[in-house]
Amino acid sequence: MTEQIDLRSAPTEAFIDDIRARFPTEAEIDWVMSRKMRLRSGRGYKPFTLEEIVDKLRELIASNYKGDFTIRNARWLQGGASKIQIAFDLEWNGFEGGDKRLTPMALRMQPPESIVETSRRREFEAISAMEGTIPVPPCYWLDPDGSHLPEPAIVYGFVNGVTRPSKNPSKQVTGIGTNYGPELRPIIAEQFIEAMARVHTPTPEQIAKLPSFDVPKTGSTEAMVKQVNWWRRVWEEDRPVNEPLINVAYNWLIENAVPLDHVSLVHGDFRAGNFLYDEDTQKITAWLDWELAVLGDRHQDLCWTTGAHFGHYAEDGKTFLACGILPTDEFLERYEKVSGLTVDPFRLKYFRVFNDFMSVITMHATGWRTARLGKTHQDVTVAWLSMIGNGIAASLCSTLEEVL
């Protein structure tokens, strides 16, 4: 298509309000999306020096922490396609005012727009709610609207660990997922399922720590409809052209939404690659990337985790290992035992459609728009990743043909 400036690149208030009215979603998501659209015609990504970011970071910390502190050893962090990340060491006395210490921390700041536009407030709350329940980095400070940093950001603890073995454990496997190797696999599997079960069974106290999340009602489809609307809204705000597949998928998802049977905290990207582990102790040290978290249906995570993109075939060449850790059936059986929650095949199918719907929107709409408007520090990465959308969209076509 002609890559000319269109209404989506310079939206009017009327355009924004029309989409908000057609696709109502959670209040915090509405705030994030509306902010994105109101700032859209403004500047794109402007390069920052490390020193500029550190100056702003100092402002954020000083406004929240009254003691003396020094930021040391700041450096850019690699990894991910959506956020700007800087690691640093903070010399301070801690919140309790104890002895001077050096605490490794990380700043996670969004660019003017991301391939997934999400709430730093929700990310901060989700990680904080899970502290003490599963391994997560400690959260320190939040700049939800970019009052101090150039854009919304969070500061959390820097956790040591790796996302994949530093040495290839076996060469006989096929597929693109992380290969932990036959020895580490069962050790990771046990911790993985235990963590997932805990995330999916939040206590009322933990839910109370999530004020930026709408708490869904069991027996109702209202929350699911809001979630489907969230992504349709993103589609309407970001797409360069229409794709009939999205309209068919949206109609099916609304019509077939299943009443919620249990309120879970859903991570949204629970998979190999999104946790760190210590290679010596073989213990998971932190679960990362909570930006897509919602209160909703556990099957969203279960379906995501067992998806083809994150697994691979075992050394026998026949057994598919979900997330590179367990055969899918065994994974789901063990999850049921550990969590005490059931796994419903129809809900898995429903979320196969939902997750692919969300992924195609991210790749074909937001990936295109953010790159087109020069909104990120990694436009070339975002445009590159957009290519994944073709295969996922083809898969979504096939699934929809089955279920229609």
Partner: protein, 170 residues
């Protein structure tokens, strides 16, 4: 849709000038951006000879979709958009941009029908038509960018390679 040739070249040069060149202290981030930028430029250069065949194939599949939907359901109002797109397809040496624009208008008309006629008894029939033809248009992108290594269905690679060869031979 995927970013076009112009956009991909632009982001590649932006990455080099705005990010990689600025971050002298950037280390691995800058190296990764430079690597992807160069790979992008090379891929775009490789695909350029097939740009017209891809745009024509996508327009043709979208026209088939619209015609089949118009035949399966009454009063869709698709005829004017079909006529306009068919004229662009028939006129011979259209540019990829002309063909993409005609396809975009046709897709908007089809999606309007899918959204407004979902209560129609024939809705499932037209939804299936849309899915089949949508997948055909996706194949052009999958075949064209096969070298990116993002094809998620290994059993489809041989078919897509054949399609890719055909696009470059036309």
């Amino acid at each position: 849709m995927n970013p076009g040739i112009d956009l991909r070249l632009r982001v590649a040069t932006n990455a080099m000038s705005n990010v990689a060149a600025q971050q002298k202290d950037g280390g691995t981030v800058a190296a990764e951006q430079l690597h992807l930028a160069m790979a992008t430029v090379n891929q775009v250069r490789e695909i350029l000879p097939a740009a017209q065949a891809i745009a024509r194939g996508e327009l043709n599949a979208t026209l088939t979709m619209a015609r089949e939907i118009a035949a399966a359901m009454s009063d869709t109002g698709l005829e004017p958009a079909i006529e306009t797109a068919a004229a662009v397809e028939a006129k011979g040496p259209s540019t990829p941009i002309e063909m993409d624009d005609a396809r975009a208008d046709l897709l908007a008309a089809v999606c309007d029908v899918l959204d407004t006629r979902k209560g129609d008894p024939n809705y499932k029939v037209i939804a299936r038509i849309a899915l089949v033809q949508n997948r055909k248009t996706l194949d052009f992108g999958r075949a064209a960018w096969l070298g990116s290594g993002f094809e998620t269905e290994p059993s489809e690679v041989a078919r897509l390679e054949k399609m890719r060869a055909s696009l470059f031979n036309n």
